[in-house]
Every structure is written in structure tokens, then in C-alpha cells.
């Protein structure tokens, strides 16, 4: 199956000398298109650092990152802003919709950023609103939407430019179980139907039933990378007892 993203020996180090902290210690990861992967782990395990590197917000100290077949750091300085616009979709814990734009405008925004014409963007936004079952909320500002609706609009925004990968940072953390499960099912549907790789960083074990794979990260290392059925049975056993090392500053 075609890979959406692959990392090779990703290392991320903060600080120098005595203050040196190794947040990631050689992560090898491959996610196929259409796959829904959960990245789990305690605080300080390196989840957020990995998310930042995968989201092209931070460059790793060492290692390779291949996004949609493109080895990102091999060809020198790149326009990461453009790559983020075109290749990556983001979903956040609190949806982080732009408050002064309506639901439809929030979905149109990423398309506007890559120069899609207004008519095409509108058609795509209507299609996504319908797909995520929030058509009737198109003209509403985020403050008028429920938490679940906001996350659906955020998913639609992430899908707008048909990215190779969607990074979801705790997308269910601010929702109750029902709404959280509904959002996860929606992500499940998106990944399988749209063929988009979705990486979900989460603490929420209730949601792992909806994912294809679970990657356990502890102290900057992948401790397990299992398919959904096996993950379900082992997740509770591997819950760490200690809070782990302190997250480096700036994370």
C-alpha cells in the first residue's frame, strides 16, 4: 500500500551539555494512505515533539522524513509553509476554528490559501459540510456551534485541500464520550473513504477501538506498534505508572 508518511531514525534533542534532553531517540514510523494511527503515551514521552516534526513545524536533529514520497530534509531549505498548506491537515483539541469566519469560510480558508477559485472552493466546502453532516451550520460562526459540530468543521477544514496526511492533536479531549466517539468514527470514515492517513495523538483509551494501529511512545522511543485488536488487549497493561521525564521547554 502507498505510504503517506515515513520517518527514519528521527532524533530530536533539546539543549546542550548537562541540560541536553533527548525527546525522540530514533523513531521509525510508516503510515499508509487510508490508515488511522493513534500515537499514545504519557506526558513527556515525545508525542508532541513527534507531532511538531511530522507537521513540519520543527525540524528534527537527525533522521529523515518522507511525506507523500518527498524526502523533506534531503533537498536543503524548503518552503514548509507551502508544504503544510498543500500536504497536511490539522485538527486540534479545541478545534481552533478562526472565530471571525463562518463554518463554511473556515473550510474555504485552506483552499483560498492555495489559490483555489471561489466557486470551486465553495463547491468543495458544501460537499465537505454535507459529508460531515453539518450542512445546516454552514453560515454559523464557531461560537454558535456545539463542541462536536466545531470538531466536524475542523475535520472538514483539514480535508479541504485533500492532504496526504491529517495530524489530529487530542481531537476528543474536550468532548464527552459520545461526542468523542462520534468524532473518532468520523475520522475513521474519512481515512477509509478519502484515503487519507490520519495520525491521532491521544490520551483517550476509549477511542482506540476506532483506530487501525496504536503506537505507544515512552521516553522518546516506540515501545509498541500494534494493530487495533492487539492494542485493545494490551493498552491497559502498558499504561505507565510514572509521569515520565519532564517535557523540554518550548514544547
Amino acid at each position: 500500500m502507498e505510504q503517506a508518511i515515513e520517518t527514519k531514525k528521527l532524533v530530536m534533542t533539546y539543549g546542550k551539555g548537562r541540560t541536553k534532553v533527548e525527546a525522540l531517540k530514533g523513531i521509525d514510523l510508516a503510515v499508509n494512505k487510508g490508515e488511522l494511527l493513534a500515537i499514545m503515551g504519557p506526558s513527556g514521552s515525545g508525542k508532541t515533539t513527534l507531532l511538531m516534526i511530522l507537521g513540519l513545524v520543527t525540524a528534527p536533529t537527525e533522521g529523515e522524513l518522507i511525506l507523500d514520497g518527498d524526502n523533506i530534509y534531503k533537498r536543503g531549505k524548503r518552503d514548509f509553509q507551502r508544504l503544510r498548506r498543500e500536504k497536511i491537515g490539522f485538527i486540534f483539541q479545541f478545534s481552533n476554528l478562526i472565530p471571525f469566519l463562518t463554518a463554511e469560510e473556515n473550510i474555504t480558508l485552506p483552499m483560498d490559501l492555495i489559490g483555489t477559485s471561489g466557486a470551486k472552493a465553495h463547491t468543495r466546502a458544501v460537499e465537505l459540510l454535507d459529508y460531515l453532516e453539518v450542512t445546516d451550520r454552514a453560515g454559523h460562526l464557531p461560537e454558535k456551534l456545539s463542541g462536536g459540530e466545531r470538531q466536524r468543521v475542523a475535520i472538514a477544514r483539514a480535508l479541504a485541500n485533500r492532504p496526504a496526511m491529517i495530524l489530529a492533536d487530542e481531537p476528543t479531549a474536550s468532548l464527552d464520550t459520545d461526542r468523542g466517539l462520534s468524532v473518532m468514527r468520523m475520522l475513521r470514515k474519512v481515512s477509509s473513504e478519502q484515503g487519507t492517513a490520519i495520525l491521532v495523538v491521544t490520551h483517550d483509551e476509549r477511542m482506540i477501538g476506532e483506530v487501525d494501529r496504536v503506537l505507544q511512545l515512552v521516553d522518546g522511543l516506540v515501545t509498541s506498534d500494534e494493530s487495533q485488536s492487539k492494542a485493545k488487549s494490551t493498552a491497559t497493561k502498558e499504561e505507565p505508572k510514572s509521569p515520565g521525564p519532564v517535557e523540554p521547554a518550548g514544547k
Binding site: V57, R85, I98, E105, K251
Partner: protein, 429 residues
């Protein structure tokens, strides 16, 4: 998609209330500009209204509105006969007063009281009391010559050879009203508008001979006193004549000669003839001082009103700087409120220029709207000012350009703050 407009729409009340604040400040900037133009116009009105090319005064004297020059009236005949002169008109002009309180409205009384309270600790309280006399610039002109009232807005021009005047509306006088000057009654037969001296005192026009009587005729009681004193000391008409020759004593005969004196001659040059050539001729052959109208205005503006124009201009500049600082602070506050949104926009890959443009556009929009609103308020408030305030659409156009530049510069602090926003702010939280 214009993010600046969308954000302004979302924060409508906040944006509009901030814009109104800016517009009030800019209104004051416009008012100051209008006051400056008013001072400049007041400095030139009478000179331009006379429609003269040259002003002839006593040698060594400045123009007739600045220094009191004296010329024999018949000089104007000699000048009129010179080559290149189309018309020469004898004029008499000086500041005078009548016992007549200036026109006062409710607003004017409020301003008086306000001035009185405002200056209570600065000067003697009675210095700010309402005056009981009306000051004006009296101009006497010869019938059918230049120098008379330019535009009559009510009533008619002077037709009789005596005892009629045309006053400016600013005097508060009405058509048909009788005013008493130097023992004679004069009827107001017409009104002009905005014809004032360089110090903003209104102008009253009269026939030349009437103006000479009002301004130069000695007081009969004074003449009687002089005769009595000189007669009592020396006795006899001969002795009187000897006594009045003494330095420092006014001559009775000389005082009556004043009625044949004028202050200036306004000259209209024939078309196609050089003003400078005519001026040189007059200077050379008649030993008089000659000024162009432009120079005459310059003397009044830069002589009498120079400091007030400079002072107001400096104050206007300070207010513009303050407006810029306020726009900068408002834009900065708006940007602080949007830090998280800016981080999201950056993470979504929004072009940096587009984010900065959103901030700058909002500052410029606020500045431009504030300018237009400020100008509108200024135009509406102009009639309520006691002195002439004259802002124009041209001022607004100029201000739109200036405020655009100021707004862009003012928003740079907010842009700098936006540059520092890290997209990581929205990840892992």
C-alpha cells in the same frame, strides 16, 4: 477572502468604537487645519476683496492695514494719470468701535463662561468679561472706485453720498439699523459675509468722506479746550497762532487738514502691463512706497499672524503623532487578542505576508474611516466656531494619504508581535 474585513465585521462594536475614538481625535486635527486656513483667509480677505494690484502708501511705511500711512488725497489723481494705471482709488482705513455689544448667541455665552472659568486662575477674572463695544475695521472708499464692499448678501450697496454704511454680518448689525459714530448717525444699508480684517474684526464700509470724518475729525470738545487754554494763557488770535506753532501742541488748522488725508491708494494696473514696472515708476517719480497685493497679504499673514499659524501647526502635528500612537496601540491590542488565531493561521500554512497584511489593513481601514468621519464632524461643526474655520475636501484627501502612511507605520509594532507568534502555540495544548 479578506481576513481584515471579516475580523472587523466580527468585532464590529469594538472596531467601530475604536474608530470613533480615532475620528474624534482626527476631527480636532481637521479643526486646527480649518482654524489655520481661517487665519490665512482672514489675513487676505480685505486685500483680495479690494481687487487692487498695487497698494501705494507713504514712503517708508508698510501697507495700510499694518501701519498708519498718511497721504494727501489728491495724489491719487497723479497716479491715475500715469502710464499703465487703469484706476487709482483713495482709501481710508482704520480700526474703530461703537458702543454696541457684539452679537452673542447662547453658544457664544456658554463659550464666554467657559473661557472665564477656564482662565479663572490664570488672569484677572474681569479681563474675560463680555465687552460692550463692537470693534471693526472701517474702510472709506470713493464712489465708483475700487475698494468698496465686494458682495452684498443682504440689503444694497451704498448709494447716498453720506451717512450710509455696509457692515459685515459678523458685526451682528441688521439692515436698517442706525449706528452712531463721532456724533453722527449712519444707516446700515447692506451686509457682506466673511469680510474681515487680518485679526478677524469685521469690516464696515463707508463713503470716503464719512470715513475721514469718523477717523480723522477731532473731537469738538477737544478743539474747544485747546482754544480756551491757548487763548487764556496768551490772549488774542495772534497769540493763539504763535502758541500753536510750538512743538508738541496740535494745530487746530492742521487737524482740519486731516480731512484731506487718506491712508492708501489702491491701484488697478491695465491688462498686459507689468505690475512691477508701474510700481517702480510710482516709487521713482512720486517717492511713495508700493506693494503688490501678494506682498500686502504676506505682511499681514507673516507679520501679524505668523506666530499663531506656526503655533497651531505645531499643535496639529503633535495631534497627528498622538493619533498615530493611538492607532498603533489599538492595532496592537487587536493583534494580542488574535495571537492564537495567528498561530493557527501560521500552522495552516498561511503566507506570512497575508497575516501581516491583515493587521496593516485593519490599521489603515481604521485610519481611513476615522479620517472620513472626523472630516464630516468637522464640516458639521464649522458654523459654531466664533472665528472662521475652513477645512476643505482637499484637506480630507491630503489627510487620507497622511493617515494611511501613519497607520502603516503605527501597525508595525503589532506586525512585529505577530512575527513572534509561534505556530507551536496551538499544538500540545
Amino acid at each position: 477572502m479578506n481576513l481584515a474585513l471579516k475580523d472587523a465585521r466580527y468585532h464590529f462594536f469594538k472596531f467601530i468604537s475604536s474608530t470613533i475614538g480615532v475620528s474624534l481625535l482626527l476631527m480636532v486635527v481637521f479643526v486646527l487645519g480649518g482654524i489655520i486656513r481661517g487665519v490665512i483667509l482672514d489675513s487676505s480677505t480685505v486685500v483680495l476683496a479690494t481687487n487692487a494690484d498695487l497698494w501705494v502708501v507713504q514712503k517708508g511705511w508698510l501697507g495700510p492695514f499694518v501701519e498708519v500711512s498718511r497721504l494727501p488725497k489728491d495724489y491719487y489723481h497723479a497716479i491715475e494719470s500715469m502710464h499703465g494705471v487703469a484706476e487709482a482709488s483713495p482709501l481710508v482705513m482704520a480700526w474703530a468701535h461703537i458702543d454696541h455689544p457684539p452679537a452673542s448667541s447662547g453658544l457664544m455665552m456658554f463659550m464666554y463662561r467657559n473661557a472665564k472659568i477656564g482662565t479663572a486662575t490664570m488672569v484677572e477674572p474681569h479681563w474675560i468679561d463680555m465687552v460692550s463695544e463692537l470693534r471693526f475695521l472701517l474702510i472709506g472708499y470713493e464712489a465708483d472706485h475700487i475698494g468698496g464692499p465686494p458682495m452684498i448678501v443682504a440689503g444694497r450697496g451704498i448709494e447716498a453720498s453720506h451717512y450710509e454704511v455696509v457692515a459685515d454680518v459678523k458685526t451682528g448689525l441688521k439692515v436698517g439699523e442706525i449706528i452712531r459714530m463721532r456724533g453722527f448717525d449712519y444707516k446700515v444699508v447692506g451686509l457682506t459675509k466673511n469680510i474681515v480684517g487680518f485679526n478677524a474684526d469685521p469690516v464696515i464700509y463707508a463713503r470716503l468722506v464719512d470715513a475721514q470724518n469718523i477717523l480723522f475729525q477731532p473731537d469738538p470738545d477737544l478743539l474747544r479746550n485747546i482754544r480756551r487754554r491757548t487763548g487764556g494763557q496768551l490772549g488774542g488770535a495772534r497769540a493763539v497762532a504763535q502758541r500753536v506753532e510750538e512743538p508738541g501742541m496740535p494745530k487746530a488748522s492742521a487737524l482740519s487738514e486731516n480731512l484731506h488725508m487718506i491712508n492708501a491708494i489702491a491701484v488697478k494696473v491695465e491688462p498686459g502691463v507689468s505690475m512691477e514696472e508701474v510700481a517702480t515708476e510710482i516709487r521713482h517719480w512720486k517717492h511713495l512706497e508700493v506693494y503688490t497685493s501678494a506682498r500686502q497679504v504676506n505682511m499681514q499673514l507673516m507679520g501679524a499672524n505668523r506666530l499663531i499659524v506656526m503655533q497651531l501647526s505645531l499643535f496639529r502635528l503633535l495631534l497627528l503623532i498622538i493619533a498615530g500612537v493611538i492607532i498603533g496601540l489599538i492595532t496592537y491590542t487587536f493583534t494580542l487578542d488574535k495571537i492564537k488565531d495567528i498561530a493557527v493561521l501560521k500552522l495552516l500554512g498561511t503566507q506570512t505576508s497575508r497575516i501581516y497584511s491583515m493587521i496593516i489593513q485593519q490599521a489603515v481601514l481604521m485610519g481611513l474611516l476615522g479620517t472620513i468621519m472626523g472630516a464630516m464632524m468637522e464640516f458639521a461643526s464649522e458654523p459654531y466656531f466664533p472665528r472662521r474655520v475652513s477645512a476643505t475636501l482637499g484637506d480630507m484627501g491630503q489627510m487620507l494619504v497622511i493617515i494611511t502612511i501613519i497607520s502603516v507605520l503605527a501597525s508595525l509594532v503589532a506586525v512585529r508581535r505577530a512575527m513572534q507568534v509561534d505556530p507551536r502555540l496551538v499544538l500540545g495544548t
